[in-house]
């Protein structure tokens, strides 16, 4: 009965990632034809983001251990597409009772709804440190999108810093794709890392610095000039250590500061920041 009543109503889903696609699938199975609005040009959302038409990397290359889930989600969407009102490349910027305000291709539109389901996902929780706003610093998610969606690295030599399993996942994806990863700076406490250890093994050939308190990032704005260095300063348990990124695989040694600099990081840098990290007192 509820379904019969709803079928004449407009059900709108915002977001064509895993949640939005599964939601649409359930509604279609119940006899409804939902409107699926998504800002991306292609379905899949962020984790299962689809590469543009004409790209040829296979599922295993793009999604690793998630390849099966990614393929299943994309196939589900392809099956659904004729049964839903799919509106890609459409940004929802406001909602009022019964109406969404959208913009698509530079033009404003409105979409009426009786029922609204938000499947808008999540974004990085960022760790702002001094220098994070400089050109060449990207969110960890952004660094992953560059690789997954466009087959590019965010820099010639990349330092990943922050915490959480995504830090190691993205770093290992960069290594597998042939990018130069200068270092992974992990700010998580030891207890958390032990819990995560089974899932974070395997990022080989990268200098990993753990238990870091990151102070500042310096990112070059002009590749090729002396300022063109990617650096991160970090203190380790009250002490500080120094490390040169040119020494691939080197571990830090106690010193005043952890600095990642030198020829290994020239000419064009990239930093990827993931959070949450522990900030040094000066930056709290």
């Amino acid at each position: 009965m509820a379904t019969a009543r709803l079928s004449s109503n407009k059900v709108v889903i915002v977001g064509a990632g895993p949640a939005g696609i599964r939601c649409a699938e359930t509604l279609v199975a119940a006899g409804l034809k939902p409107i699926l609005i998504d800002e991306n040009r292609r379905d899949g959302g962020q984790i299962y983001r689809r590469q543009p038409e004409g790209f040829t990397r296979d599922y295993a290359t793009l999604y690793g251990t998630e390849a099966g889930k990614a393929r299943d989600l994309h196939q589900s969407f392809d099956r659904l597409r004729g049964s839903i009102d799919y509106r890609p490349d459409t940004l929802v910027w406001n909602l009022t009772p019964g109406q969404l305000c959208c913009v698509s291709q530079g033009k404003h539109t409105t979409v009426d709804y009786d029922a609204l389901i938000l499947c808008t996902g999540a974004t990085d929780r960022l760790m702002p440190i001094e220098g994070w706003q400089l050109a060449g610093t990207y969110s960890l998610g952004g660094a992953q999108i560059a690789l997954k969606s466009q087959a590019v690295s965010i820099g010639h030599s990349v330092v990943f810093m922050g915490s959480g399993p995504l830090l190691y996942l993205v770093a290992s994806q960069y290594v597998k794709a042939g990018a130069k990863v200068a270092a992974v700076l992990d700010t998580s406490p030891l207890s958390k890392r032990i819990l995560a250890m089974p899932k974070t093994a395997g990022a080989s050939g990268i200098a990993v610095h753990r238990d870091e308190t990151i102070g500042a990032a310096v990112s070059g704005e002009n590749p090729g000039t002396p300022r063109d260095q990617t650096s991160a300063s970090a203190g380790r348990r009250g002490k500080r250590c120094q490390w040169r990124a040119g020494q691939h695989g080197a571990r830090g040694k106690p010193d005043d500061q952890l600095r990642c600099r030198g020829p290994g990081l020239s000419p064009a840098p990239g930093n990827a920041i993931g959070g949450p990290g522990r900030l040094s007192p000066a930056f709290r």
Partner: protein, 102 residues
């Protein structure tokens, strides 16, 4: 070295010709504008708040850091718009700008 981004794969795509600040550049079909510009340069545009240059940040259309413009004044997020043949991109904000500090 002039580029910030580095291509790692998918380099066999057809080329697309566009202009950036009047200069002809070659990109690959399926490139986003940010990839087309940053594989050949270090920044996308001038910051509207300080003297720095901007090169994008989130790459998912959220942070508003990667705006560029078409010659006709259309504003595009470079991370979420693809290159098109003949596109004429301008990296200087055509609208009024904030006064710069310092």
């Amino acid at each position: 070295m002039k580029g910030r981004f580095v291509r790692l794969a998918e380099q066999g795509r057809p080329t697309v010709n566009l202009k950036v600040d009047g200069a002809a550049i070659e990109a690959l079909q399926g490139d986003t504008l940010i990839v087309a510009l940053l594989t050949q340069g270090s920044a996308l545009r001038q910051s509207e708040f300080d003297s720095g240059r901007r090169a994008g940040f989130c790459l998912m259309g959220a942070c508003q850091d990667c705006w560029v413009w078409t010659r006709s004044g259309e504003r595009l997020r470079a991370c979420s718009n693809e290159v098109r043949e003949g596109l004429d991109i301008v990296t200087t904000q055509p609208e009024a700008t904030w006064p710069l500090h310092g």
